[in-house]
Amino acid sequence: MSNAATNMPAEHIGWSRDEMAQRAAQDIPNGAYVNLGIGIPERVARFVPEGREVIYHTENGLLGMGPTPEDGGEPELINAGKRRISAVPGAAYFHHADSFSMIRGGHLDICVLGAMQVAENGDLANWSTGAPDAIPAVGGAMDLVAGVKTICVITQHVTKKGQPKLLERCTFPLTGVGVVSRVYTDLAVIDVSTDGFRVVELAPGVDLGYVQERTDAKLLAANA
């Protein structure tokens, strides 16, 4: 199935990165405590609809993360991606053990992460390709997927080489077992249901067959 994808310039079909982030932002309710991963997930914060107040957590010790500061910021106010950030009024600083108590203790509502692979049973792989010469690095990903109530993934539907990232089973080392609830790709919004991947929404101009061709697991239609 995956070969078909390589014949298409994926960037011309489906949602852009910002549109993926915007779509994910629609699902974040007022009052949610949210942790956003590095990359496309970070963009979600820009698109939360007016009128909703969302509190952003960064696992290096801040609740109430604000946008990138216009003045360039300061080296001791950074996010988990080590980028300079701001803090909103009502923020709180705390140490790492307290920060991961929030995560592990189930106090955060939503975490939006990137992914290398997502399996139809909700398994997530996003930290290592398992290549023997790679420098392994995991950060807080395993804690986030183990602790946060709802884990969402934002990812391109296929790799740069056109390989599917949504699979029956992950082939890369796992980050967590059965943890993903919903996946936002450039082609569709897909829930991990007890029956497997269920397509909730398709990007404009994309049909189920097109997405299925680029997915290495069976996709269920929204109303199936």
């Binding site: 107040e53 009024p89 709180a92 203790g105």
Partner: protein, 236 residues
């Protein structure tokens, strides 16, 4: 907008159900959320399991809740103190259950519960009756006892200042169990001496970040247990 303020203690405790586990902040009277406890007495919720370091004093606050036969079980470290009259009598009559936990183990169990740690090992109580029946395990040649994390359906605590987001700071030794109970309570209700605008509390000095707090009630001039006891007051 997020606004965790609740109009009254009565409304704040209304979801507490018969049979619930309720953590109640305070060490003696310091930090005891007496107005929330009294609202729970007014509500009459029964068969509670209450977690507190003590069992209250006189006939007000936690002691009155016990006296009103709303508590089936206490989990605490020191159930008798100078003015504790109610618990000892009910306990000796076999009318209330007691789980006695060393104070540091109680604190760590609550913190673990709030931090998603289901169990841990501690040296406290090894070789004593309080370790009997529990798993003992050696690490580096020393014995430790396994203890379980403790969570609760509700936590009732008291603070000095809160904002609408639930950021809290406390007053002196009234802090005690409140920050960890706020973590371990599935629903944490706070009575605040003062509710201040967001941004008032220094982000460097927040003790309990708002993520751990679900409801805040303004109780600007709380009663003091020791004064009520000295006056011979009872509740209800």
């Amino acid at each position: 907008m997020i606004d965790k303020q609740i109009a009254s203690p009565a409304e704040a405790v209304k979801d507490i159900f018969d049979g619930a586990t309720v953590m109640v902040g305070g060490f003696g009277e310091a930090g005891s959320p007496i107005e929330l406890i009294h609202a729970l007495i007014d509500q009459g919720t029964k068969n509670l399991t209450v977690v507190n370091n003590n069992t209250g004093s006189g006939h007000v606050g936690l002691a009155a809740l016990i006296e009103n036969r709303q508590v089936a079980k206490m989990i605490c470290s020191f159930p008798r103190t100078a003015n504790s009259l109610v618990f000892p009598e009910l306990y000796q009559a076999g009318e209330i259950e007691l789980e006695l936990v060393p104070q540091g183990t109680l604190a760590e169990r609550i913190r673990a519960g709030g931090a998603g740690i289901p169990a841990f090992y501690t040296p406290s109580s090894v070789g004593t009756p309080l370790a009997e029946g529990k798993e003992i395990r050696q690490f580096n040649g020393q014995d430790y006892v396994m203890e379980f994390g403790l969570t609760a359906d509700f936590a009732l605590i008291k603070c000095r200042q809160a904002d609408r987001l639930g950021n809290l700071v406390y007053n002196k030794t009234a802090r005690n169990f409140a920050p960890i109970m706020a973590m371990a309570g599935h629903r944490t209700i706070v009575q605040a001496r003062e509710i201040v605008p967001v941004g008032t509390i220094d982000p460097e000095s927040v003790v309990t970040p708002g993520i751990f707090v679900d409801g805040i009630v303004d109780v600007g001039d709380p009663q003091h247990e020791s004064m009520l006891v000295a006056e011979g007051r009872t509740y209800p």
